[in-house]
């Protein structure tokens, strides 16, 4: 474990727009340096992505970048991050992805020339390694193509590189639908941690080569899958909340390998990571309802340095094309929060606390991501001797927070979920003392057709 202490130990300092380790962009945005900026993310409507469709695809991205940045400039946004999260064929065939990267970079340049708008590009290739089953995690054409797109996009001018990596997910979906915390810990803290180390050593080497920023990962495929399943009443919310706490251990590894942020928007675990690392973070909440529902639309903004909409299709809404409409919403949210902050620390804290209070008592996951809870979980993680122990400690801390806030009347927990807190405590009590013992036990239990242990150094 690289981090032994917290960069932010005082909950009052865990706040939007400010991070102990801010990042400057080429055009002069300072992320985490006092302002919160919008981060726009967008995707295509239903189009089959193949070579012949490229002219139409190009038109979509040109329209998105031109219209959305024009609106951002009209609304006097102090700066904008664009995230290009590729669609799988665009990473599989880096030439397709690069065509879009170049369009977005041109759009960013144009907007700077025309309006003086400060904008930067985050490029997020897909982790397509699971297209083969069991996935080939450390070699093969999907791995090679992904590194190629990282490399080429950084060379072309993308200033930030991110990914939603999938290592450990082979077993995690089943762990979720079975409500199996032991298997969650194995997927995230044994498999996930090992794969993160492998992939992020490669990404950090690429960013160093091009002088760009390794911006961090997210346990989207783990924590958000759990959150969406809980929103659909498929798994208990308290279980999804505890899974979220554990995801922080996996996502942390990117920073241990040298990532500097801003962490990726869909990592709802980011407040915990901000407390540990001091790196700025992107978050998404109510303005990401276009992509998925969440139980903490306001709270997510409380500690964010970039405020994102996660993803929206380029379709026509009454106000304009959807990415432009979402740009407007993001700019207004940021403007309000920046106005509060400009009036001084007390106003900023007031604003933050309203964002937190309006959600925290209504949902277990929101409760474990308040500034206070995030710091409690962060503490539990940095005090642990290993990632394995950190996963257990994070889960325990989360269960404790849920139990205590519920008993104190600060958090509503559905009656049919109450028993799950005991169930999770029991599972945690039964965890072996050492990771080696845990691995030995799990290797007998897991389905070895689903993943290749050697790909995880197991």
């Amino acid at each position: 474990m690289k981090y032994k202490t917290l960069a932010i130990a005082d909950p009052a300092k865990l706040i939007y727009g400010r991070a102990p380790r801010p990042i400057k962009t080429r055009r002069g945005m300072c992320i985490g340096g006092g302002l919160i900026y919008p981060e726009l993310n967008f995707t295509l409507p239903d189009i089959n992505i193949r070579k012949e469709a490229m002219p139409e695809i190009v038109r979509h991205y040109q329209q998105i970048v031109t219209e959305a940045l024009e609106r951002a400039a009209e609304l006097e946004a102090p700066g904008v991050m664009l995230e290009f999260e590729t669609l799988p064929p665009m990473t599989e065939h880096p030439a397709l992805g690069m065509e879009v990267v170049n369009i977005l970079l041109e759009g960013i340049e144009d907007a700077h020339d025309k309006y003086g708008l400060k904008a930067a590009l985050r490029c997020t290739p897909n982790d397509n390694r699971e297209f083969v089953r069991p996935p080939l995690m450390r070699s093969g054409r999907y791995w090679d193509a992904m590194l190629e797109l990282f490399d080429q996009s950084a060379a072309a001018g993308a200033e930030f590189l991110s990914i939603e990596s999938v290592g450990g997910k082979e077993l995690h979906d089943d762990a979720l639908v079975n409500g199996d915390l032991r298997a969650v810990l194995f997927s995230l803290c044994v498999m996930g941690v090992r794969d993160m180390k492998f992939i992020w050593d490669h990404i950090v080497a690429i960013t160093a080569k091009h002088g760009v920023h390794a911006a961090g990962d997210t346990a989207c495929g783990f924590g958000n899958t759990a959150m969406v399943l809980a929103e659909r009443k498929m798994i208990p919310r308290v279980f999804a909340a505890v899974v979220r706490a554990v995801t922080a251990v996996r996502s942390l590894v990117a920073y241990e390998c040298g990532a500097v942020g801003p962490g990726k928007d869909c990592g709802y675990e980011n407040p915990v990571l901000k407390a540990i690392t001091g790196c700025p973070m992107s978050m998404e909440g109510k303005t990401a309802a276009c992509a998925h529902l969440s139980p903490m639309g306001n709270l997510a903004a409380a500690t964010a340095d970039l405020w994102s909409n996660e993803s929206v299709q380029n379709i026509k809404l009454l106000g304009g094309m959807a990415p432009t409409c979402y740009m407007e919403q993001l700019v207004y949210d940021c403007r309000l929060m920046n106005t509060a902050a400009a009036e001084g620390e007390a106003s900023a804290l007031q604003m933050r606390d309203w964002l937190v209070k309006s959600d925290a008592g209504r949902d277990p996951q929101a409760m474990i991501l308040t500034p206070e809870s995030s710091i409690t979980i962060a503490h539990a993680i940095v005090q642990a001797p290993s990632h394995y122990a950190a996963g257990i400690a994070a889960a325990r801390a989360a269960v404790k927070i849920l139990r205590e806030t519920n008993e104190a009347g600060c958090l509503r927990i559905d009656a049919r979920e109450a028993g799950w807190l005991d169930r999770m405590d029991d599972e945690l009590d039964d965890m072996p003392h050492t990771e080696d013992a845990f691995i030995e036990e799990m290797m007998d239990e897991v389905d070895l057709e689903k993943f290749t242990p050697a790909d995880y150094g197991l």
Partner: protein
């Protein structure tokens, strides 16, 4: 003496150990394997599905029941085969080409199994050719297609078209996934759609006219 009702309750409550003792006991007492299936196991999963629909249980609890049913089926299946009894309905299901999302598809497969269908799961990223191959091999009554990405919806359309073009006009095609709607099903010529796993059984039955 144990009864069929005891077996049904054991499956509803997901008590695998009880199922393991009850099934042989009931068979020994002279009850036909087919009766255990149709009077205990399928109705039990029906009850669990209903509870899930009403938000009374979570998926993990539903899956415990599904596993209990599977336990029973492990014992019953060889006997049913011996007696020449095959499931009345066969379904093939898969996530379309280019798409890796499978949590929803897996739940639909579980519910269909619970309703007594023989389900062949082709997995994810399934090409139209692979669907057609499976249709020719298993002669299913239903084929379920899942797509979660707007960018793989065209693959769903292509798969439906390819299956029809290959001359499989009788097989019922059911589709689902977050971006899918009834009107999309109508547009691409699918026979049915359902928005969640709980109603996927009803949708399949409606398409089959049972």
């Amino acid at each position: 003496m144990s009864t069929i009702e005891d077996l049904k309750t054991a499956v509803i409550n997901g008590r695998r150990k009880d199922v393991q003792t009850l099934v042989p006991e009931l068979l020994e007492s002279g009850i036909e394997p087919a009766a255990l299936l149709s009077q205990a196991l399928i109705p039990a999963m029906g009850v669990v599905g209903e509870r899930f629909k009403k938000n009374e249980v979570f998926v993990p609890e539903m899956l415990v029941s599904a596993r209990a049913m599977k336990e029973a089926m492990n014992i019953l299946e060889p006997k049913l085969l011996e007696a020449g009894i095959r499931p009345e309905h066969t379904a093939v299901i898969g996530t379309v080409e280019g798409d890796l999302h499978d949590i929803g598809k897996n739940l639909v497969a579980t519910m269909w199994k619970g309703a007594g269908f023989d389900v062949i799961d082709l997995g994810v990223n399934v090409s139209p050719a692979r669907f057609i191959e499976a249709i020719e091999e298993h002669k299913p009554h239903i084929v379920g297609l899942s797509a979660l990405l707007t960018t793989t919806m065209p693959a769903m359309r292509d798969t439906v078209a390819a299956i029809r073009e290959a001359g499989h006009s009788a097989v019922k095609l059911l589709i689902g996934g977050a971006p899918i709607t009834q009107s999309y099903a109508d547009e691409i010529g699918a026979d049915g759609y359902s928005r969640d796993a709980a109603s996927a059984v009803d949708a399949a039955k409606a398409a089959l006219g049972i």
